[in-house]
Symmetry: C2
Subunit: 147 residues, 2 copies
């Protein structure tokens, strides 16, 4: 068994994750493997890129669920090519940009609002950065009150 693909241990080590995580990602369908004669997993090198991308996407705040959905648009039995990866990249960049903008808004309003008296759920600009409140948020909200 000299050159039959990567073992789980090798994948884990090269990706900086645990063997159990490799198993876990496979169980979620994010990566796949074949088996050798002794029923041990063997991974194509392509898996390293996939794991890299999983990790990068997670840093962006993308869930494994969403990563799986994005991966499902990739070809099943051929290594994705450059432009296929770039399609993913573009989708996620948009998400990432939105997150950044949203955090920037929050940051910009934080100083102005947290110390002032206006902090309220409904009207304070801090809470109106594109997100919507829960269903039951209809009631009147304290404005300019001193708590």
């Amino acid at each position: 068994m000299i050159n039959d693909g990567l073992t789980v241990g090798q994948v884990a080590k090269r990706c900086g994750i645990k063997v159990s995580s490799v198993h876990f990602y496979e169980s979620k369908g994010l990566i796949s493997s074949s088996r050798n004669s002794g029923n041990q997993r063997r991974f194509a090198k392509e898996v390293l890129r996939r794991v890299s991308i999983i990790k990068a996407a997670q840093k962006m705040g993308i869930s494994l669920q969403e990563i799986g959905e994005a991966f499902s648009t990739l070809p099943k039995h051929r290594a994705p090519n450059k432009s296929e990866w770039q399609t993913l990249s573009t989708q996620w960049q948009d998400k990432l940009n939105q997150r950044i903008v949203s955090l920037q808004n929050l940051r910009d309003r934080l100083t102005g609002c947290i110390g002032c008296g206006c902090l309220s759920m409904e009207r304070c600009p801090m809470y109106n950065d594109g997100d919507h409140l829960g269903e039951n948020a209809a009631g009147p909200v304290l404005l300019n009150a001193k708590y």
Copy 2:
């Protein structure tokens, strides 16, 4: 019982969260209440600000644990004043700034890297934005390989 403070239901509604969450936050020591003659919770208006801040902090990616730690620096039996709230604000702004910068780095590297051949755990600039890899990430990593 006309003006004895806010009931859980009122707090929940005005904050756009569920009654169970109000209970939950109280169980975590993030907010507190007194009880009326019939053992029902009554909240001071100050609680609305606290919940507001909990929500804002969560949007920033701050955990309830950290929020609790920050809150623990506030006075126990007096409503915090403006400058006390602003101290919190300042702490969190730094965290927020770091997160933003980190996401920006990721974003800026995403397009360049995800479609190219260099995406690797160890050397690719995408993974070198200040975070460190796991302990076992020591092995050689595929560079410029076609997966």
